[in-house]
Protein backbone atom coordinates (compact mmCIF):
# COMPACT_ATOMS: atom_id res chain seq x y z
CA UNK A 1 0.00 0.00 0.00
CA UNK A 2 1.30 3.49 -0.81
CA UNK A 3 2.19 5.80 2.06
CA UNK A 4 -0.25 8.46 0.81
CA UNK A 5 -3.71 6.92 0.44
CA UNK A 6 -4.85 6.93 -3.15
CA UNK A 7 -8.40 7.47 -4.24
CA UNK A 8 -10.03 7.03 -7.64
CA UNK A 9 -13.31 8.88 -8.26
CA UNK A 10 -15.46 7.42 -11.02
CA UNK A 11 -18.44 9.60 -11.99
CA UNK A 12 -19.76 10.89 -15.29
CA UNK A 13 -20.51 14.34 -13.81
CA UNK A 14 -17.47 16.62 -13.81
CA UNK A 15 -18.78 18.74 -10.97
CA UNK A 16 -18.96 15.62 -8.77
CA UNK A 17 -15.48 14.48 -9.79
CA UNK A 18 -14.10 17.96 -9.07
CA UNK A 19 -15.91 18.28 -5.70
CA UNK A 20 -14.80 14.89 -4.43
CA UNK A 21 -11.27 15.32 -5.75
CA UNK A 22 -10.89 18.64 -4.02
CA UNK A 23 -12.45 17.37 -0.78
CA UNK A 24 -10.09 14.45 -0.50
CA UNK A 25 -7.00 16.28 -1.76
CA UNK A 26 -7.39 18.61 1.22
CA UNK A 27 -7.17 15.53 3.39
CA UNK A 28 -3.84 14.71 1.83
CA UNK A 29 -5.08 11.90 -0.37
CA UNK A 30 -3.67 11.34 -3.82
CA UNK A 31 -6.77 11.65 -5.99
CA UNK A 32 -7.49 10.90 -9.57
CA UNK A 33 -10.75 10.67 -11.44
CA UNK A 34 -12.37 8.88 -14.36
CA UNK A 35 -15.46 9.97 -16.27
CA UNK A 36 -16.62 6.51 -17.31
CA UNK A 37 -15.96 2.82 -16.84
CA UNK A 38 -13.49 2.55 -19.72
CA UNK A 39 -11.40 5.40 -18.33
CA UNK A 40 -11.53 3.83 -14.86
CA UNK A 41 -10.37 0.45 -16.12
CA UNK A 42 -7.46 2.11 -17.95
CA UNK A 43 -6.36 3.75 -14.70
CA UNK A 44 -6.70 0.49 -12.84
CA UNK A 45 -4.34 -1.24 -15.24
CA UNK A 46 -1.60 1.18 -14.28
CA UNK A 47 -1.84 1.17 -10.51
CA UNK A 48 -3.61 -0.06 -7.41
CA UNK A 49 -5.97 2.30 -5.63
CA UNK A 50 -6.69 2.26 -1.90
CA UNK A 51 -10.27 3.44 -2.31
CA UNK A 52 -12.50 3.61 -5.37
CA UNK A 53 -15.56 5.88 -5.21
CA UNK A 54 -18.05 4.68 -7.78
CA UNK A 55 -21.20 6.13 -9.24
CA UNK A 56 -23.86 3.70 -10.45
CA UNK A 57 -25.58 5.41 -13.35
CA UNK A 58 -23.05 6.15 -16.09
CA UNK A 59 -23.26 6.04 -19.88
CA UNK A 60 -21.94 2.77 -21.27
CA UNK A 61 -20.93 0.29 -18.57
CA UNK A 62 -22.69 1.13 -15.32
CA UNK A 63 -21.21 1.06 -11.83
CA UNK A 64 -22.54 -2.37 -10.92
CA UNK A 65 -20.86 -4.02 -13.89
CA UNK A 66 -17.73 -1.97 -13.37
CA UNK A 67 -17.55 -3.24 -9.80
CA UNK A 68 -17.31 -6.81 -11.10
CA UNK A 69 -14.64 -5.88 -13.62
CA UNK A 70 -12.64 -4.10 -10.93
CA UNK A 71 -12.74 -7.20 -8.75
CA UNK A 72 -11.25 -9.21 -11.58
CA UNK A 73 -8.32 -6.82 -11.72
CA UNK A 74 -7.92 -6.29 -8.00
CA UNK A 75 -9.63 -8.59 -5.55
CA UNK A 76 -8.73 -6.40 -2.62
CA UNK A 77 -10.11 -3.18 -4.10
CA UNK A 78 -12.16 -1.20 -1.59
CA UNK A 79 -15.19 0.14 -3.40
CA UNK A 80 -17.64 2.68 -2.04
CA UNK A 81 -20.69 3.52 -4.11
CA UNK A 82 -21.80 7.16 -4.05
CA UNK A 83 -24.95 7.55 -6.07
CA UNK A 84 -27.94 9.81 -6.52
CA UNK A 85 -29.93 6.85 -7.86
CA UNK A 86 -30.10 4.59 -4.86
CA UNK A 87 -32.44 1.63 -4.78
CA UNK A 88 -32.67 -1.21 -2.32
CA UNK A 89 -31.89 -3.72 -5.07
CA UNK A 90 -28.71 -2.04 -6.21
CA UNK A 91 -27.61 -1.46 -2.64
CA UNK A 92 -28.06 -5.12 -1.72
CA UNK A 93 -26.37 -6.28 -4.90
CA UNK A 94 -23.44 -3.91 -4.45
CA UNK A 95 -22.84 -4.97 -0.88
CA UNK A 96 -23.24 -8.67 -1.70
CA UNK A 97 -20.60 -8.23 -4.39
CA UNK A 98 -18.22 -6.88 -1.82
CA UNK A 99 -18.68 -3.12 -1.81
CA UNK A 100 -17.46 -1.56 1.40
CA UNK A 101 -20.46 0.73 1.57
CA UNK A 102 -23.19 2.36 -0.47
CA UNK A 103 -24.18 5.98 0.16
CA UNK A 104 -26.63 8.40 -1.40
CA UNK A 105 -25.75 11.87 -2.68
CA UNK A 106 -25.63 14.38 -1.14
CA UNK A 107 -23.60 12.81 1.64
CA UNK A 108 -23.13 14.16 5.12
CA UNK A 109 -19.47 15.26 5.20
CA UNK A 110 -18.88 13.77 8.65
CA UNK A 111 -20.26 10.43 7.49
CA UNK A 112 -18.16 10.44 4.32
CA UNK A 113 -14.98 11.34 6.19
CA UNK A 114 -15.49 8.56 8.72
CA UNK A 115 -16.51 6.10 6.04
CA UNK A 116 -13.36 6.57 4.00
CA UNK A 117 -11.22 6.67 7.12
CA UNK A 118 -12.70 3.38 8.30
CA UNK A 119 -12.22 1.87 4.87
CA UNK A 120 -8.57 2.84 4.94
CA UNK A 121 -8.17 1.50 8.44
CA UNK A 122 -9.47 -1.79 7.24
CA UNK A 123 -6.79 -1.86 4.58
CA UNK A 124 -4.30 -1.60 7.36
CA UNK A 125 -2.21 1.61 7.24
CA UNK A 126 0.46 0.44 9.65
CA UNK A 127 3.18 2.75 8.35
CA UNK A 128 1.00 5.81 8.46
CA UNK A 129 -0.16 4.98 11.97
CA UNK A 130 3.38 4.77 13.26
CA UNK A 131 4.27 8.05 11.58
CA UNK A 132 1.14 9.70 12.93
CA UNK A 133 1.80 8.44 16.44
CA UNK A 134 5.31 9.87 16.33
CA UNK A 135 3.94 13.21 15.20
CA UNK A 136 1.19 13.21 17.80
CA UNK A 137 3.66 12.14 20.45
CA UNK A 138 5.80 15.14 19.64
CA UNK A 139 2.85 17.50 19.58
CA UNK A 140 1.21 16.23 22.73
CA UNK A 141 3.83 17.51 25.16
CA UNK A 142 1.88 19.37 27.77
CA UNK A 143 2.04 23.13 27.75
CA UNK A 144 4.84 23.94 30.14
CA UNK A 145 3.74 23.82 33.74
CA UNK A 146 6.16 26.10 35.49
CA UNK A 147 7.30 25.50 38.99
CA UNK A 148 10.42 24.60 40.91
CA UNK A 149 8.95 24.63 44.40
CA UNK A 150 8.81 21.41 46.40
CA UNK A 151 5.01 21.52 46.22
CA UNK A 152 5.04 21.59 42.42
CA UNK A 153 7.66 18.85 42.25
CA UNK A 154 5.27 16.71 44.23
CA UNK A 155 2.47 17.56 41.74
CA UNK A 156 4.73 16.56 38.84
CA UNK A 157 5.47 13.23 40.51
CA UNK A 158 1.77 12.58 40.98
CA UNK A 159 1.11 13.41 37.32
CA UNK A 160 3.75 10.89 36.21
CA UNK A 161 2.36 8.26 38.58
CA UNK A 162 -1.26 8.52 37.53
CA UNK A 163 -0.82 9.34 33.84
CA UNK A 164 0.03 5.80 32.82
CA UNK A 165 -3.07 4.39 34.46
CA UNK A 166 -6.71 4.90 33.52
CA UNK A 167 -7.62 5.96 37.03
CA UNK A 168 -10.11 8.76 37.50
CA UNK A 169 -8.37 11.85 38.85
CA UNK A 170 -9.76 14.66 40.96
CA UNK A 171 -7.72 17.87 40.81
CA UNK A 172 -8.29 20.26 43.70
CA UNK A 173 -7.22 23.83 44.00
CA UNK A 174 -8.33 27.43 44.08
CA UNK A 175 -9.50 29.18 40.96
CA UNK A 176 -6.64 30.10 38.65
CA UNK A 177 -4.12 27.55 39.92
CA UNK A 178 -3.87 25.70 36.61
CA UNK A 179 -6.12 22.70 37.13
CA UNK A 180 -6.80 22.36 33.40
CA UNK A 181 -3.07 22.47 32.67
CA UNK A 182 -2.57 19.59 35.06
CA UNK A 183 -5.39 17.66 33.39
CA UNK A 184 -3.79 18.19 29.98
CA UNK A 185 -0.42 17.11 31.34
CA UNK A 186 -1.94 13.86 32.62
CA UNK A 187 -3.63 13.27 29.27
CA UNK A 188 -0.48 14.04 27.26
CA UNK A 189 1.50 11.54 29.27
CA UNK A 190 -1.12 8.80 29.02
CA UNK A 191 -1.77 6.12 26.43
CA UNK A 192 -4.85 8.13 25.42
CA UNK A 193 -2.76 11.00 24.08
CA UNK A 194 -3.57 9.98 20.48
CA UNK A 195 -7.18 10.94 21.12
CA UNK A 196 -8.64 14.25 22.25
CA UNK A 197 -8.97 15.67 25.72
CA UNK A 198 -12.39 17.29 25.82
CA UNK A 199 -12.97 19.91 28.49
CA UNK A 200 -16.37 20.87 29.90
CA UNK A 201 -16.81 23.81 32.24
CA UNK A 202 -19.70 22.49 34.31
CA UNK A 203 -19.94 25.71 36.25
CA UNK A 204 -20.51 27.89 33.22
CA UNK A 205 -23.55 26.10 31.85
CA UNK A 206 -27.15 26.24 32.98
CA UNK A 207 -28.83 22.99 34.03
CA UNK A 208 -30.59 22.05 30.78
CA UNK A 209 -27.69 23.20 28.63
CA UNK A 210 -25.14 21.07 30.50
CA UNK A 211 -27.08 17.90 29.81
CA UNK A 212 -27.13 18.58 26.06
CA UNK A 213 -23.50 19.67 26.14
CA UNK A 214 -22.44 16.41 27.77
CA UNK A 215 -24.69 13.93 25.99
CA UNK A 216 -25.58 15.75 22.76
CA UNK A 217 -29.08 15.81 21.41
CA UNK A 218 -31.08 14.31 18.59
CA UNK A 219 -32.94 16.29 16.00
CA UNK A 220 -36.25 17.41 17.48
CA UNK A 221 -35.15 16.81 21.07
CA UNK A 222 -36.45 20.26 21.92
CA UNK A 223 -37.85 23.28 20.12
CA UNK A 224 -35.26 24.55 17.68
CA UNK A 225 -33.15 21.37 17.68
CA UNK A 226 -33.10 20.97 13.93
CA UNK A 227 -29.98 18.88 13.79
CA UNK A 228 -28.32 16.14 15.76
CA UNK A 229 -25.53 17.40 17.96
CA UNK A 230 -22.66 15.38 19.35
CA UNK A 231 -22.00 15.75 23.06
CA UNK A 232 -18.69 15.99 24.82
CA UNK A 233 -18.81 12.36 25.99
CA UNK A 234 -18.99 11.24 22.38
CA UNK A 235 -16.21 13.58 21.30
CA UNK A 236 -14.01 12.24 24.10
CA UNK A 237 -14.29 8.63 22.94
CA UNK A 238 -10.87 7.04 23.17
CA UNK A 239 -9.50 10.05 24.99
CA UNK A 240 -10.05 12.00 28.17
CA UNK A 241 -13.09 13.84 29.48
CA UNK A 242 -12.12 16.78 31.69
CA UNK A 243 -14.95 18.02 33.89
CA UNK A 244 -14.06 21.39 35.34
CA UNK A 245 -16.02 22.71 38.34
CA UNK A 246 -17.59 19.29 38.73
CA UNK A 247 -19.19 20.39 42.00
CA UNK A 248 -21.58 22.59 40.04
CA UNK A 249 -23.33 19.77 38.19
CA UNK A 250 -27.06 19.57 38.98
CA UNK A 251 -28.34 16.42 40.67
CA UNK A 252 -30.20 15.03 37.64
CA UNK A 253 -27.16 15.34 35.41
CA UNK A 254 -25.00 13.86 38.18
CA UNK A 255 -27.08 10.71 38.00
CA UNK A 256 -26.90 10.48 34.20
CA UNK A 257 -23.18 11.14 34.27
CA UNK A 258 -22.56 8.47 36.90
CA UNK A 259 -24.46 5.95 34.81
CA UNK A 260 -22.51 6.87 31.66
CA UNK A 261 -19.17 6.62 33.47
CA UNK A 262 -20.02 3.25 35.02
CA UNK A 263 -21.67 1.61 32.01
CA UNK A 264 -19.62 3.39 29.33
CA UNK A 265 -22.77 4.02 27.34
CA UNK A 266 -25.46 6.64 27.07
CA UNK A 267 -28.11 8.09 24.77
CA UNK A 268 -28.29 11.59 23.39
CA UNK A 269 -31.02 13.85 24.78
CA UNK A 270 -34.23 12.97 23.01
CA UNK A 271 -32.76 9.80 21.53
CA UNK A 272 -32.89 6.08 22.03
CA UNK A 273 -29.73 4.98 20.28
CA UNK A 274 -27.22 3.55 22.73
CA UNK A 275 -23.82 5.05 22.18
CA UNK A 276 -20.86 3.19 23.57
CA UNK A 277 -17.86 5.22 24.61
CA UNK A 278 -14.55 4.70 26.31
CA UNK A 279 -12.89 7.64 27.98
CA UNK A 280 -10.87 8.46 31.03
CA UNK A 281 -12.30 10.99 33.47
CA UNK A 282 -10.36 13.82 35.04
CA UNK A 283 -12.30 16.33 37.07
CA UNK A 284 -11.51 19.50 38.94
CA UNK A 285 -13.11 21.53 41.66
CA UNK A 286 -12.42 24.42 43.98
CA UNK A 287 -15.42 23.49 46.11
CA UNK A 288 -15.53 21.51 49.31
CA UNK A 289 -17.06 18.40 47.76
CA UNK A 290 -17.14 16.52 51.03
CA UNK A 291 -19.33 19.26 52.48
CA UNK A 292 -21.53 19.20 49.37
CA UNK A 293 -22.00 15.44 49.85
CA UNK A 294 -22.92 15.83 53.50
CA UNK A 295 -25.38 18.59 52.55
CA UNK A 296 -26.90 16.42 49.87
CA UNK A 297 -26.10 18.65 46.89
CA UNK A 298 -23.54 16.21 45.47
CA UNK A 299 -24.23 12.49 45.15
CA UNK A 300 -22.12 10.33 47.39
CA UNK A 301 -21.85 7.52 44.84
CA UNK A 302 -20.63 9.96 42.16
CA UNK A 303 -18.20 11.48 44.65
CA UNK A 304 -16.59 8.11 45.35
CA UNK A 305 -16.56 7.32 41.63
CA UNK A 306 -14.69 10.53 40.85
CA UNK A 307 -12.48 10.95 43.90
CA UNK A 308 -10.24 7.95 43.29
CA UNK A 309 -6.90 9.78 42.95
CA UNK A 310 -6.55 13.36 44.16
CA UNK A 311 -4.01 15.96 43.17
CA UNK A 312 -3.96 19.17 45.15
CA UNK A 313 -2.46 22.29 43.56
CA UNK A 314 -1.27 24.78 46.14
CA UNK A 315 -2.29 28.42 45.76
CA UNK A 316 0.39 30.72 44.40
CA UNK A 317 0.82 32.52 47.71
CA UNK A 318 2.02 29.24 49.24
CA UNK A 319 4.71 28.76 46.63
CA UNK A 320 6.11 32.23 46.11
CA UNK A 321 9.41 30.74 45.02
CA UNK A 322 7.72 29.89 41.71
CA UNK A 323 6.67 33.48 41.00
CA UNK A 324 9.92 34.75 39.36
CA UNK A 325 10.01 31.75 37.03
CA UNK A 326 6.35 32.23 36.15
CA UNK A 327 6.86 35.95 35.52
CA UNK A 328 9.76 35.30 33.18
CA UNK A 329 7.81 32.58 31.40
CA UNK A 330 4.88 34.93 30.76
CA UNK A 331 7.15 37.74 29.65
CA UNK A 332 8.71 35.44 27.04
CA UNK A 333 5.31 34.14 25.98
CA UNK A 334 3.84 37.60 25.40
CA UNK A 335 7.01 39.04 23.95
CA UNK A 336 6.68 36.38 21.23
CA UNK A 337 2.96 36.78 20.62
CA UNK A 338 3.03 40.60 20.75
CA UNK A 339 6.33 40.75 18.89
CA UNK A 340 7.57 43.19 21.51
CA UNK A 341 11.22 43.30 22.58
CA UNK A 342 10.62 43.05 26.33
CA UNK A 343 13.44 41.17 27.95
CA UNK A 344 12.51 41.12 31.59
CA UNK A 345 11.29 42.91 34.67
CA UNK A 346 12.93 45.42 36.97
CA UNK A 347 13.89 44.26 40.43
CA UNK A 348 11.42 46.68 42.00
CA UNK A 349 8.58 45.36 39.86
CA UNK A 350 9.56 41.77 40.62
CA UNK A 351 9.61 42.62 44.29
CA UNK A 352 6.09 44.03 44.02
CA UNK A 353 4.90 40.95 42.18
CA UNK A 354 6.43 38.56 44.69
CA UNK A 355 4.99 40.41 47.65
CA UNK A 356 1.43 40.41 46.32
CA UNK A 357 -0.91 37.70 47.56
CA UNK A 358 -2.41 36.70 44.20
CA UNK A 359 -5.93 35.71 45.25
CA UNK A 360 -6.56 34.87 41.60
CA UNK A 361 -3.43 32.73 41.52
CA UNK A 362 -1.52 32.03 38.32
CA UNK A 363 -4.33 33.26 36.10
CA UNK A 364 -4.30 36.64 37.82
CA UNK A 365 -0.51 36.75 37.58
CA UNK A 366 -0.62 35.97 33.87
CA UNK A 367 -3.25 38.68 33.30
CA UNK A 368 -1.12 41.20 35.20
CA UNK A 369 1.99 40.40 33.18
CA UNK A 370 0.06 40.45 29.92
CA UNK A 371 -1.29 43.89 30.79
CA UNK A 372 2.17 45.08 31.78
CA UNK A 373 3.52 43.83 28.46
CA UNK A 374 0.86 45.84 26.60
CA UNK A 375 1.39 49.12 28.46
CA UNK A 376 5.09 48.75 29.24
CA UNK A 377 7.97 50.16 27.26
CA UNK A 378 10.89 47.88 26.36
CA UNK A 379 13.15 46.55 27.57
CA UNK A 380 11.70 45.82 31.02
CA UNK A 381 8.48 45.87 32.98
CA UNK A 382 8.58 48.46 35.74
CA UNK A 383 6.24 48.91 38.73
CA UNK A 384 4.13 51.52 36.95
CA UNK A 385 3.22 48.94 34.32
CA UNK A 386 1.63 46.67 36.88
CA UNK A 387 -2.09 46.81 37.59
CA UNK A 388 -3.14 49.31 40.22
CA UNK A 389 -4.48 46.74 42.67
CA UNK A 390 -1.06 45.12 42.98
CA UNK A 391 0.53 48.22 44.39
CA UNK A 392 -2.57 49.10 46.36
CA UNK A 393 -2.97 45.72 47.98
CA UNK A 394 0.65 45.06 48.69
CA UNK A 395 0.30 46.50 52.11
CA UNK A 396 -1.78 43.56 53.26
CA UNK A 397 1.17 41.21 53.12
CA UNK A 398 2.51 41.48 56.61
CA UNK A 399 4.38 38.53 58.04
CA UNK A 400 2.35 38.68 61.24
CA UNK A 401 3.87 41.37 63.45
CA UNK A 402 2.35 44.82 63.84
CA UNK A 403 5.65 46.44 62.84
CA UNK A 404 5.74 44.45 59.63
CA UNK A 405 2.17 45.46 58.85
CA UNK A 406 2.99 49.11 59.49
CA UNK A 407 6.12 48.94 57.33
CA UNK A 408 4.30 47.28 54.45
CA UNK A 409 1.51 49.85 54.57
CA UNK A 410 3.91 52.78 54.58
CA UNK A 411 5.84 51.31 51.63
CA UNK A 412 2.60 50.88 49.74
CA UNK A 413 1.48 54.45 50.33
CA UNK A 414 4.88 55.89 49.40
CA UNK A 415 4.98 53.90 46.19
CA UNK A 416 1.43 54.75 45.31
CA UNK A 417 2.21 58.45 45.66
CA UNK A 418 5.62 58.20 43.99
CA UNK A 419 7.36 59.06 47.25
CA UNK A 420 5.56 62.37 47.61
CA UNK A 421 6.01 62.78 51.38
CA UNK A 422 3.28 65.38 51.89
CA UNK A 423 0.64 63.42 50.03
CA UNK A 424 1.61 60.12 51.66
CA UNK A 425 1.55 61.64 55.13
CA UNK A 426 -1.85 63.12 54.40
CA UNK A 427 -3.29 59.74 53.41
CA UNK A 428 -1.66 58.03 56.39
CA UNK A 429 -3.07 60.80 58.60
CA UNK A 430 0.28 61.53 60.23
CA UNK A 431 2.49 64.59 59.96
CA UNK A 432 5.52 64.76 57.70
CA UNK A 433 8.02 64.59 60.53
CA UNK A 434 6.48 61.39 61.82
CA UNK A 435 6.61 59.92 58.36
CA UNK A 436 10.28 60.83 57.93
CA UNK A 437 10.99 59.18 61.31
CA UNK A 438 9.24 56.02 60.24
CA UNK A 439 11.13 55.99 56.94
CA UNK A 440 14.36 56.13 58.90
CA UNK A 441 13.17 53.58 61.44
CA UNK A 442 12.32 50.99 58.79
CA UNK A 443 15.36 51.80 56.69
CA UNK A 444 13.31 52.72 53.63
CA UNK A 445 14.95 54.35 50.63
CA UNK A 446 13.42 56.07 47.66
CA UNK A 447 14.16 53.94 44.53
Amino acid sequence: MTSTPSLLVVDDEQVIRDSLSKWFKEDGYSVSSAENAADALRRLQGQKWDIILLDIKMPGMDGMELQQRIRELDQDATIIFITAHATVDTAVKALKNGAFDYVTKPVDPDYLSHLVANALKQRSLANENVKLKEQISEFSKAEDIVGESSQMHKVFELIQTVAKTDTTVMIRGESGTGKELIARAIHSNSDRRYFPIVAVNCGALAEGILESELFGHERGAFTGAQYRRKGKLELADGGTLFLDEVGNIDTKTQMDLLRAIETKQFSRVGGNEIIKVDFRVICATNKDLEKAVSEGSFREDLYYRLNVFSIFIPPLRERKGDIPQLVNYFIQKYARSMNKPMTGISSEAMDTVVRYNWPGNVRELENAIERAMVVGKPPKIVPEDLPFQLTERNHVLPSGSLAAAEKAHIIAMLEQNHWNISRSADILQIDRVTLYNKIEKFGLKKP
Binding site: E26, D27, G28, P106, V107, D108, S113, G224, Q226
Partner: protein, 177 residues
Amino acid sequence: MASAIHILNGTNIGADSLNPLAERVGNVFGVKTDVQKASINIDRAYDQSRGQHNSTALLAQVLNGAQLNQEKHILVVEVDLYIPVLTFVFGEAQLNGVAAIVSTHRLQNQFYGLSHDYPLMLKRLEKEIVHELGHNFGLYHCRQFECVMRSSTYVEEIDLKLSVPCAACSNLLRGVG
Protein backbone atom coordinates in the same frame (compact mmCIF):
# COMPACT_ATOMS: atom_id res chain seq x y z
CA MET B 1 4.78 34.30 0.14
CA ALA B 2 1.57 36.33 -0.01
CA SER B 3 1.94 40.06 0.55
CA ALA B 4 -1.51 40.51 2.02
CA ILE B 5 -4.71 38.78 3.08
CA HIS B 6 -8.06 40.42 2.44
CA ILE B 7 -11.10 39.32 4.40
CA LEU B 8 -14.09 40.20 2.25
CA ASN B 9 -16.97 40.83 4.62
CA GLY B 10 -20.31 39.74 3.19
CA THR B 11 -21.99 39.59 6.60
CA ASN B 12 -23.40 41.99 9.16
CA ILE B 13 -20.45 41.45 11.48
CA GLY B 14 -19.06 44.86 12.40
CA ALA B 15 -15.54 46.17 12.08
CA ASP B 16 -15.11 46.19 15.85
CA SER B 17 -15.31 42.39 15.78
CA LEU B 18 -13.66 41.66 12.45
CA ASN B 19 -10.68 44.00 12.70
CA PRO B 20 -9.17 42.34 15.80
CA LEU B 21 -9.94 38.95 14.26
CA ALA B 22 -8.13 40.01 11.09
CA GLU B 23 -5.10 41.03 13.13
CA ARG B 24 -4.95 37.65 14.84
CA VAL B 25 -5.31 35.87 11.50
CA GLY B 26 -2.49 37.99 10.13
CA ASN B 27 -0.29 37.02 13.07
CA VAL B 28 -0.76 33.32 12.28
CA PHE B 29 0.53 33.74 8.72
CA GLY B 30 2.85 36.67 9.29
CA VAL B 31 0.99 38.62 6.62
CA LYS B 32 -0.80 41.97 6.79
CA THR B 33 -4.53 41.27 6.89
CA ASP B 34 -7.34 43.71 6.35
CA VAL B 35 -11.12 43.67 6.13
CA GLN B 36 -12.92 44.91 3.04
CA LYS B 37 -16.54 45.06 2.08
CA ALA B 38 -17.45 42.17 -0.21
CA SER B 39 -18.89 42.96 -3.61
CA ILE B 40 -20.10 39.54 -4.65
CA ASN B 41 -23.42 38.55 -6.20
CA ILE B 42 -24.53 35.96 -3.65
CA ASP B 43 -27.87 35.29 -5.36
CA ARG B 44 -26.19 33.94 -8.50
CA ALA B 45 -24.94 30.99 -6.47
CA TYR B 46 -28.31 30.10 -4.94
CA ASP B 47 -29.71 26.63 -5.69
CA GLN B 48 -33.44 26.63 -5.15
CA SER B 49 -33.69 22.84 -5.11
CA ARG B 50 -31.32 22.65 -2.19
CA GLY B 51 -32.15 25.92 -0.49
CA GLN B 52 -28.41 26.54 -0.23
CA HIS B 53 -25.69 28.46 -2.00
CA ASN B 54 -23.10 26.75 -4.17
CA SER B 55 -19.76 27.32 -2.48
CA THR B 56 -17.72 26.64 -5.61
CA ALA B 57 -19.73 29.18 -7.60
CA LEU B 58 -19.08 31.85 -4.97
CA LEU B 59 -15.42 30.88 -4.84
CA ALA B 60 -15.21 31.44 -8.59
CA GLN B 61 -16.51 34.98 -8.09
CA VAL B 62 -13.85 35.62 -5.45
CA LEU B 63 -11.21 34.32 -7.81
CA ASN B 64 -12.43 36.57 -10.60
CA GLY B 65 -12.10 39.56 -8.34
CA ALA B 66 -8.64 38.62 -7.05
CA GLN B 67 -5.57 40.15 -8.63
CA LEU B 68 -2.92 37.74 -9.84
CA ASN B 69 -0.39 38.93 -7.30
CA GLN B 70 -0.54 36.20 -4.66
CA GLU B 71 -2.69 38.25 -2.29
CA LYS B 72 -5.19 35.98 -0.60
CA HIS B 73 -8.89 36.76 -0.60
CA ILE B 74 -11.33 35.06 1.74
CA LEU B 75 -15.02 35.80 1.49
CA VAL B 76 -17.15 35.55 4.62
CA VAL B 77 -20.89 35.02 4.08
CA GLU B 78 -23.91 34.25 6.20
CA VAL B 79 -25.65 31.88 3.79
CA ASP B 80 -25.53 28.09 4.01
CA LEU B 81 -22.98 26.59 1.63
CA TYR B 82 -22.79 23.28 -0.18
CA ILE B 83 -20.74 21.49 -2.77
CA PRO B 84 -22.63 19.10 -5.01
CA VAL B 85 -21.74 15.81 -3.41
CA LEU B 86 -22.06 16.89 0.23
CA THR B 87 -24.96 18.09 2.37
CA PHE B 88 -23.04 21.20 3.43
CA VAL B 89 -19.61 22.72 3.85
CA PHE B 90 -18.35 25.21 6.44
CA GLY B 91 -16.08 26.71 3.79
CA GLU B 92 -13.98 26.01 0.73
CA ALA B 93 -10.57 27.07 -0.48
CA GLN B 94 -8.19 26.67 -3.35
CA LEU B 95 -5.28 24.51 -2.31
CA ASN B 96 -2.20 26.68 -2.91
CA GLY B 97 -4.43 29.33 -4.35
CA VAL B 98 -5.66 32.82 -3.66
CA ALA B 99 -9.38 32.41 -2.99
CA ALA B 100 -11.41 30.97 -0.13
CA ILE B 101 -14.84 31.24 1.41
CA VAL B 102 -16.30 30.65 4.87
CA SER B 103 -19.92 30.73 6.01
CA THR B 104 -21.08 31.73 9.48
CA HIS B 105 -24.41 29.97 8.91
CA ARG B 106 -23.52 26.71 10.66
CA LEU B 107 -21.14 28.35 13.11
CA GLN B 108 -24.00 29.99 14.96
CA ASN B 109 -25.51 28.26 17.96
CA GLN B 110 -29.01 29.20 16.84
CA PHE B 111 -28.65 26.84 13.89
CA TYR B 112 -28.52 23.94 16.33
CA GLY B 113 -31.39 25.18 18.46
CA LEU B 114 -29.09 26.58 21.14
CA SER B 115 -28.99 30.07 22.54
CA HIS B 116 -27.12 32.79 20.73
CA ASP B 117 -23.42 33.08 21.58
CA TYR B 118 -21.78 35.78 19.50
CA PRO B 119 -18.26 35.46 20.95
CA LEU B 120 -18.35 31.71 20.31
CA MET B 121 -19.44 32.27 16.72
CA LEU B 122 -16.56 34.72 16.23
CA LYS B 123 -14.10 32.23 17.69
CA ARG B 124 -15.36 29.52 15.34
CA LEU B 125 -15.20 31.95 12.43
CA GLU B 126 -11.59 32.82 13.23
CA LYS B 127 -10.67 29.13 13.26
CA GLU B 128 -12.40 28.43 9.97
CA ILE B 129 -10.84 31.50 8.32
CA VAL B 130 -7.40 30.35 9.43
CA HIS B 131 -8.24 26.80 8.28
CA GLU B 132 -9.28 27.81 4.77
CA LEU B 133 -6.40 30.26 4.42
CA GLY B 134 -4.16 27.41 5.53
CA HIS B 135 -5.26 25.56 2.40
CA ASN B 136 -4.51 28.66 0.33
CA PHE B 137 -1.01 28.56 1.79
CA GLY B 138 -0.65 24.91 0.79
CA LEU B 139 -1.56 23.09 3.98
CA TYR B 140 -3.50 19.85 3.91
CA HIS B 141 -5.76 18.56 6.64
CA CYS B 142 -3.92 17.59 9.78
CA ARG B 143 -4.74 14.66 12.02
CA GLN B 144 -3.75 16.47 15.22
CA PHE B 145 -6.94 17.03 17.18
CA GLU B 146 -6.06 20.52 18.27
CA CYS B 147 -4.48 21.77 15.04
CA VAL B 148 -6.54 24.39 13.22
CA MET B 149 -5.96 22.39 10.02
CA ARG B 150 -7.82 19.39 11.36
CA SER B 151 -10.87 18.67 9.19
CA SER B 152 -14.09 19.48 11.03
CA THR B 153 -17.37 18.00 9.93
CA TYR B 154 -19.22 18.90 13.13
CA VAL B 155 -19.22 22.30 14.78
CA GLU B 156 -18.25 20.62 18.06
CA GLU B 157 -15.03 19.54 16.36
CA ILE B 158 -14.32 23.16 15.49
CA ASP B 159 -14.67 23.99 19.18
CA LEU B 160 -12.15 21.29 20.08
CA LYS B 161 -9.36 22.66 17.95
CA LEU B 162 -7.19 25.71 18.49
CA SER B 163 -7.07 28.71 16.18
CA VAL B 164 -3.45 28.12 15.23
CA PRO B 165 -1.60 25.38 13.36
CA CYS B 166 0.35 22.71 15.20
CA ALA B 167 4.13 22.78 15.23
CA ALA B 168 4.39 20.57 12.14
CA CYS B 169 1.95 22.64 10.11
CA SER B 170 3.58 25.86 11.31
CA ASN B 171 6.92 24.55 10.07
CA LEU B 172 5.36 23.77 6.71
CA LEU B 173 4.01 27.34 6.54
CA ARG B 174 7.48 28.70 7.20
CA GLY B 175 8.91 26.36 4.59
CA VAL B 176 10.83 24.41 7.19
CA GLY B 177 10.77 20.60 7.24
